[in-house]
């Protein structure tokens, strides 16, 4: 919401000299109306003056430029070159002088144009960041000047190059030399023609000596359109040029005043609970209380002398009272559409809207002033004079004021006559009842519509308007009457029409008065303050609340207030949030800290990082196609994912039931970025459908890596280290050939005891290929809940060995298929009391080893706790181990 401070001063005395923009923004922000930005409009334009053209000469070195001497209020005239042909001696024009700034950011300095000095620039509307709505008279019409004619085909000119004044061009159109030009009104010039007659024209680009095309029948000088000519045939006869001012101004006046830019604009961010602050009066009320000033409000007075009564002319029926709690209407006869006065245009423009014409401007002005959106219907287009507020019927549609045909659905509330919709309620009017130049009778609508309904309709139609964005927050139904009266008052003030007596006011949704009990002790208890009751009462009364004893009467526009905590906020806002003390009231202290689960999760992160893995964060949602990408079996139950019904896109449309695609996506991205290696981890959730529609959201520890140092055993080492750190007890690994995501020969399931922890391995080359990666990718997926459940308790100290250990290496030959892990387990469990460790250190096939066999070497570590181990004991142990290997695995010593 943009608030011009000049307009604010109508309601609250708060001149800029007393409170500058920064102080204003600070005070308003901390009282609850957050200021986004303030702008000093006068700083956007500098040194642009009103100038009077004293003389115009042809530029000596250019056939399309003019050299003007301009009176800008100084002692000597200023010389400015211009390419515009629409100026005349005596015209008042905006002149940007040396070292000036234009609103579009352009800086003007003196310079030479084709050798002639120019001390500034004459400005068009566009260069002043304005348009014809700001200066309605400034539309430029251009005559076709025959002296500027350039035939498209030089060999076949439509007009003879030798044409003379008096020659016929076609029909009743003759060539005529202009002998005099005199301004005779707003955009009207009287031209004397060498034919011996005079004519009045709105064309601005005519000067003495020009040869024009004159239609003797219509008594008019022809434009390009009249001659059916193309622009390129008359390159300098364009409908653009310098703004010729018809304002109450004199040479030397500052243009910023004429443009209404001697103002400061404050832009507020208004929270959705305060639609009452989306207007001047609401903001003025907040301003007045913030600065302790008086709020001056005006009661609209309507003369209504047009005769007749609206009750006899129109009928209003609300068919859906839930969506339209109130509909108020007044009638205006003998409407005269015209531009609205400068003061109104200026306020509308500085508040961020565009002036259009008096009627439209009045509705917008009232909306900006009261916060109540209004609509004006051409009443002659309302069939049978009846307004029906109802939802659209199946198949109905409307062409809205922006010229778009919009199909309507039965959820959309519309304003209809007896036959068809004439407006989408609270959103936009229809073209079929639009105010046009010859509109004579206008029905002003000032209504209240259900907020969510307007919002949904506006969203569905894809057109959020100034009106709908107010309605959607829920407006005060009490506000409609005053707004429509204000509109009618302005109609009378502007002479835009005659107001008919009477008001139609259908009000099915009147709300009871909201009351809240004033409980100062509760307010203080909530705030931690000691504010006295008198202060509270004053704040509330200043804000427009009523007080009857201890009963607070909440004003109708404050639908957000219904509870003592709301009263506490009102009090706190103006007592000052920053005046509330800061102190700890104590209470019962709580221990705080990480839970054991959180500690384990943190520890896993620490271990991963100590092993060199970087942490990643991935999206919880994926594309269903990712299941194919990781080659998940078509009947895998994990394909049954929670599905987002309104996803942003396919790629983020289902909740992942496996974390693998997320890791693969990040590995792929790093690979594609040509990072030569990556080692990553994430502790992330997966989402499993539950019968109640919600999800189990277990966490998975996801590891992933690629790079020159990676192989299966590096990955396995990470997992083993992690499990060892958590003290889970020794894991065992079984070959997993059936996980389609992983390499069938390089994948293992991980168990601790009977509990499956997860899976690890090299990603299947085809899976990798699905991601466009031709490198070896390694991943592990570990269940966090299992890791947590299996975590060890606090370690108990074991005495360090006092006697040296003895090692013996042995090598055996066995069948290739025997898992070494099984052999190690057997050795350790059957090796006897002295065997402390068994580490396989070489597996060999090939030369000297029979086909289908392999040689496995183990290093055995043996030690006695109470003495230095004797050779006999060591030999005994080795024998035992060899026996086990022979018995269990048919492995014989090499």
């Amino acid at each position: 919401m943009k608030m011009p401070r000049k307009w604010l001063n109508e309601f609250v005395d708060l001149p800029l000299e007393e409170v500058d923009d920064k102080a204003f923004a600070e005070a308003m922000s901390v009282s609850g109306s957050k200021v986004e930005v303030t702008e000093d409009l006068s700083k956007t334009i500098h040194n642009v003056k009103v100038g009077r053209i004293l003389s115009l000469e042809k530029h000596p070195n250019s056939d399309h430029m003019l050299v003007a001497q301009i009176d800008v209020g100084g002692e000597a005239p200023v010389q400015i070159c211009t390419g515009a042909w629409n100026v005349h001696v005596g015209d008042l024009v905006p002149a940007a002088l040396h070292k000036s700034l234009l609103p579009n950011g352009v800086k003007i300095e003196k310079g030479k144009l084709r050798g002639v000095e120019s001390f500034g620039m004459l400005c068009s509307l566009k260069e002043l960041a304005a348009d014809v709505h700001d200066f309605p008279y400034a539309e430029i019409k251009a005559a076709a000047l025959l002296n500027n004619y350039h035939p498209i085909d030089p060999l076949k000119p439509s007009i003879s190059p030798n044409i003379q004044s008096g020659d016929r061009i076609f029909g009743k159109v003759v060539a005529a030399e202009v002998s005099s030009v005199e301004n005779v009104g707003v955009i009207l010039w009287k031209c004397g023609l060498a034919l011996g007659c005079e004519t009045v024209t709105p064309c601005q680009n005519i000067h003495v000596g020009d040869l024009v095309a004159y239609n003797t029948e219509k008594d008019a000088i022809c434009t390009l359109a009249d001659l059916h000519a193309e622009q390129k045939e008359f390159p300098n006869c364009i409908e653009d040029g310098i703004l010729i001012l018809h304002e109450d101004c004199r040479p030397g006046d500052d243009m910023s005043l004429l443009l209404g830019r001697d103002d400061h604009v404050v832009e507020f961010e208004i929270t959705p609970n305060r639609p009452d602050c989306l207007c001047m009066i609401g903001l003025a009320r907040e301003t007045a209380v913030t600065f302790g000033k008086e709020l001056r409000l005006h009661e609209p007075v309507v003369q209504a002398k047009a005769g007749g009564n609206i009750a006899d002319m129109a009928k209003i029926v609300i068919e859906d009272a839930a969506l339209c709690p109130r509909y108020t209407a007044r009638m205006v006869k003998n409407v005269k559409i015209a531009p609205s006065p400068a003061w109104m245009r200026e306020r509308i423009r500085n508040a961020g809207m565009r002036p259009i014409n008096n009627l439209v401007d009045i509705t917008n002005y009232v909306m900006l002033e009261y916060g109540q959106p209004m609509h004006a219907f051409d009443f002659s287009c309302v069939k049978d004079g009846e307004i029906h507020v109802r939802c659209a019927k199946e198949g109905e549609s409307i062409r809205t004021l922006d010229g778009t045909d919009r199909p309507l659905t039965p959820s959309m509330l519309c304003i209809c006559d007896t036959e068809r919709p004439v407006a989408v309620a609270g959103v936009m009017g229809g073209e079929n009842s639009e105010i046009v130049g010859d509109t004579a009778m206008v029905l002003f609508e000032s209504a209240c519509f259900n907020g969510p309904s307007v919002r949904r309709t506006a969203t569905a139609l894809g057109m959020r308007t100034d009106a709908s964005s107010r309605f959607e927050k829920g407006l005060d139904p009490e506000g409609t009457r005053k707004a429509v009266d204000r509109a009618c008052e302005l109609v009378e003030l502007l002479g835009a029409g005659e107001v008919v007596e009477g008001v139609i006011d259908v009000y099915p949704g009147k709300k009871p008065q909201t009351t809240v009990k004033l409980e100062p002790e509760k307010v203080n208890a909530l705030l931690g303050t000691d504010i006295d009751e008198g202060t509270m009462r004053k704040i509330l009364m200043d804000l427009g609340f009523g007080l009857e004893g201890d009963t607070i009467l909440v004003p109708s526009w404050r639908g957000d207030v219904e509870h003592y905590s709301d009263i506490a906020e009102e009090v706190a806002r103006f007592y000052g949030y920053n005046e509330i003390p800061t102190r700890f009231s104590g209470g019962i202290s709580t221990a705080g800290g990480y839970s054991e689960l959180q500690q384990v999760e943190r520890r896993i992160g620490e271990v991963c990082r100590s092993m060199g893995l970087d942490e990643i964060i991935t999206y919880s949602f994926i594309s269903p196609s990712y299941y194919d990408k990781i080659r998940m079996a078509p009947d895998d139950p994990r394909r049954d994912s929670l599905k987002i019904l309104n996803p942003l896109g396919e790629d983020t449309s289902i909740m992942r039931t496996t974390i693998l695609p997320s890791m693969l996506e990040i590995l792929t991205r790093n690979y594609n970025y040509r990072n030569k290696e990556a080692a990553l981890y994430e502790i992330g959730r997966i989402y499993r459908k539950r019968p109640d529609g919600l999800a189990d959201e277990p966490k998975i520890v996801s590891l992933g890596a690629y790079g020159p140092k990676m192989n299966f055993f590096v990955l396995k080492g990470w997992v083993e280290t992690l499990l060892a750190d958590l003290g889970t007890g020794k894991p065992h690994f079984t070959q997993e050939k059936n996980n389609p995501s992983y390499h069938p020969g390089r994948c293992a399931r991980i168990y601790v005891g009977d509990t499956e922890i997860g899976v690890l391995g090299q990603i299947h080359p085809e899976t990798a290929a699905n991601y466009g990666v031709d490198a070896e990718l390694y991943c592990a997926e570990l269940r966090f809940d299992a890791l947590f459940a299996l975590r060890g308790s606090i370690p108990v100290f074991k005495p360090l060995p006092r006697f040296p250990a003895v090692t013996r290496d042995i090598a055996v030959v066995c069948e290739n298929t025997v898992p070494v892990g099984d052999m190690v387990e057997a050795i350790l469990s059957g090796g006897g009391q002295y065997l402390k460790d068994c580490a396989p250190f070489d597996v060999y096939t090939g030369h000297h080893i029979a086909e289908g066999m392999k040689s496995v070497a183990f290093s055995l570590t043996m030690r006695a706790e109470d003495q230095t181990l004797t050779d006999e004991h060591a030999e005994e142990t080795v024998k035992k181990v060899l026996q086990i290997l022979k018995d269990r695995f048919n492995a014989v010593m090499r």
Partner: protein, 341 residues
């Protein structure tokens, strides 16, 4: 004999001083002091001496022996010191060459910031709680005093799993307030960080998934003064001592009164610059007193208990802390990004 010893002394000391390695030194020791050495040869002639002379000469000979031994030892020490010096000289390294770095893993920058915040709150007696992301609309909206018509419930803003808008992806961590009030014993001091989801297209400042931290205190006699004291302390821990704060009224359906906490722009000191978009202040978090309706809805008597709550966005905090300019980097997980922190 005395003269002979004197001659031997001079000759041997000279030779020893000239020895330039350990081997020649050993040869000299054998030559002078060995069983067949020159000193022994002289001593053999002791028999020819008188009984008076013999002890005198013996003493002189012993003295000479120890002189020669000392000289050898001294020379040996000199030589080994020189050798060591040469060895060290040879071993000299270019210390400007780079070290061999162990590969360290890195915590994600956003979780660095999150852990910092967790630690701050834990120090103040808070616990950390976690909850579901697939959530009931009841918890995400209704019980938080967000009524049926509220725009945030629209399908254009929130991801839904059921046609009846009953189950959704939580749009905020605030449902954790409800879960905590319904399941925990009073008093409650919790923070609840986690993932939240909104229907925003990905760009430099938006992501359909992002993180929030919710915090809540429920106890007897809790006031807005507590809220201010706690959050001021937190902000000081995050942004440094002396950070100027400002509490500004705001609106959240589930707190009343509600506020936003701004810190004075550290770059311009409040004058207004590009960092603070000219406002002089930077918005940090939203907070407020838990709405009595919300308390009552969770079975907590608002006449006995009160509470305050806050919520803040983690991404923006991390981006501010590390001057990260594009939110997409956070979820891209490029190791060149991750390893900067």
């Amino acid at each position: 004999m005395k003269e002979m010893m004197q001659a031997l002394r001079e000759a041997s000391i000279k030779a020893i001083l000239n020895a330039d390695d350990a081997e020649s030194l050993e040869n000299l020791r054998v030559k002078y002091l060995g069983k067949k050495g020159e000193l022994t040869a002289i001593l053999r002639q002791m028999g020819k001496l008188s009984a008076e002379e013999r002890p005198v000469m013996g003493q002189l000979a012993n003295q000479l022996r120890s002189e020669i031994e000392n000289a050898i030892d001294q020379r040996r020490n000199e030589l080994s010191a020189a050798m060591l010096e040469k060895k060290l000289e040879r071993e000299t390294l270019d210390v400007t060459l780079p070290g061999e770095k162990p590969h360290m893993g890195h915590k994600h920058p956003m979780y660095n910031v999150l852990d910092q915040i967790k630690d701050i709150f834990i120090g103040m007696g808070f616990e950390i709680v976690d909850g579901p992301e697939v959530e009931l609309a009841d918890y995400n909206f209704t019980k938080l005093n967000i009524d049926e018509g509220h725009p945030s419930r629209e399908w254009t803003d929130t991801f839904y799993f059921t046609e009846d808008s009953r189950i959704l992806l939580r749009t905020q961590t605030s449902p954790m307030q409800i879960h905590a009030m319904e399941t925990r014993e009073l008093p409650i001091r919790i923070i609840a960080p986690g993932r939240v989801y909104r229907k925003d297209e990905v760009d430099a400042t938006h992501s359909p998934m992002f993180h929030q931290i919710e915090g809540m205190v429920i106890d007897k006699g809790v006031t807005m003064a507590d809220l201010k004291a706690t959050l001021n302390l937190v902000v000081e821990k995050i942004y440094g001592k002396g950070t100027v704060t400002r509490f500004r009224p705001h609106h959240f359906p589930f707190t009343e009164p509600s506020c936003e906490l701004d810190i004075q722009c550290h770059k311009c000191g409040g004058k207004g610059c590009s960092t603070c978009k000219g406002e002089g202040w930077i918005e940090v978090l939203g907070a407020g007193m838990v709405h009595p309706k919300v308390l009552a809805g969770c079975g907590i008597d608002p006449d006995v208990y009160s509470g305050w709550a806050f919520g803040m966005g983690l991404e923006r905090l991390a981006m501010g802390e590390y001057k990260i300019t594009d939110l997409r980097l956070i979820f891209e997980n490029d190791v060149r990004f991750l390893e900067q922190f």
